[in-house]
Amino acid sequence: MAKIVGTITTSHVPAIGGAIAKGLQQDPYWKPFFDGFPPVREWLAKVKPDVVVLVYNDHGLNFFLDKMPTFAIGAAPEYHNADEGWGIPTVKPFRGDPELSWHLIEKLVAEEFDIVSCQEMVVDHAFTLPMALCWPDQNWPVRTVPVVVNTVQAPLPSAARCYKLGKALGRAIESWPRDERVVVMGTGGLSHQLDGERAGFINKEFDQKFMDSMISDPAWATKYSTVELVELSGTQGVELLNWVVARGTLPEKVRKQQVNYHIPISNTATGLMVLEPAA
């Protein structure tokens, strides 16, 4: 049976793509962010995943507001990146795993999560940049399954719902009959707000509580409504819902393998965590 070997949760700020393209990893502005990743790569070299299930939100590349699913799963043999309008270089395509995708869709729908299935899907920076941070040579050694959560247009799924989705997703992955090693990624956040007079809002205290909760109190964020999460983490900070889904795929008890937090990258407080099941 498949096994979830751990989760990687990280910010996905578009500017990271520009920094990678310009080779700024050792630049003083960028170094505290990029320095979080070598331990992640060492961990990946050790756990050797076959598949990455990547939970993220699309920012108007694959989905427009004409059709906005709350939860969608890619079921394509291959996923391409494309121009998002502001000029970060595109990356090589990613191999999919349609059989696993359909297994996950079937299991989740059976558990009453009404998933939108996507046999064609382009993936944006929220998918490509975390992958490029984990595998800087961009020769992706894994198959991938994109899981897209609507964090763009209210009503958003609640944190409680996202945590339940994560639990169901974890069960679905671990019922996959192939003996494969799976890493679940969750991308976005942490606190930031791009729009309005409150632009530039960052909440270090909340982010640190949230990151602690990922280790020792995984349901902590589920007590907050969407409005409360916007108030605490900013209009785009709600992308932490993707972290909540990823965390839900792990058991209650976890071991941390890596934690990094840095303010600011662009307008964002960036977070990074690698967690393993403790059992």
Binding site: G60, G85, Q153, A154, D195, E197, N203, N267
Partner: protein
């Protein structure tokens, strides 16, 4: 910061909900088209014609003309789509943040840095 309202309870913040999504549909659709370089060029070459093609209302047209992010949000724009519009002019998120908060770019960057303390 503008006062909160029952529908928009967080000061200085417009939650992008169904009401905003309906109001901003044409504007966001135009910005979505800016994923393609050919459309970005077409906008630059003839802004009036491009806005007319997407059926922007006068409020949206004026906000686009003014390159004014707060006006664009007021007209229903969503941050992720407006970023594609800003990209045409090579503006980054600190330019956008500075404009919305009435700061210089350096002041806005200092505000972000200060959040680390």
């Amino acid at each position: 910061m503008p006062n909160a309202s029952p529908r928009q309870p967080v000061p200085g913040t417009t939650m992008f909900d169904g009401e905003q999504a309906r109001k901003g549909y044409a504007l966001n659709k135009m910005c979505y088209s800016f994923n393609d370089a050919v459309n970005r060029r077409a906008f630059v070459e003839n802004e009036d014609a491009y806005c007319a093609k997407y059926g922007l209302n006068p409020q949206q047209r004026e906000a686009i003309r003014n390159r004014n992010v707060l006006q664009l949000i007021e007209a229903g724009g969503n941050a992720y789509y407006l970023a594609k519009f800003a990209g045409i002019f090579g503006l980054d998120m600190q330019d956008i943040g500075a404009q919305q908060t009435g700061m210089t770019k350096d002041e806005f960057k200092a505000k972000l840095q200060a959040a680390a303390r």
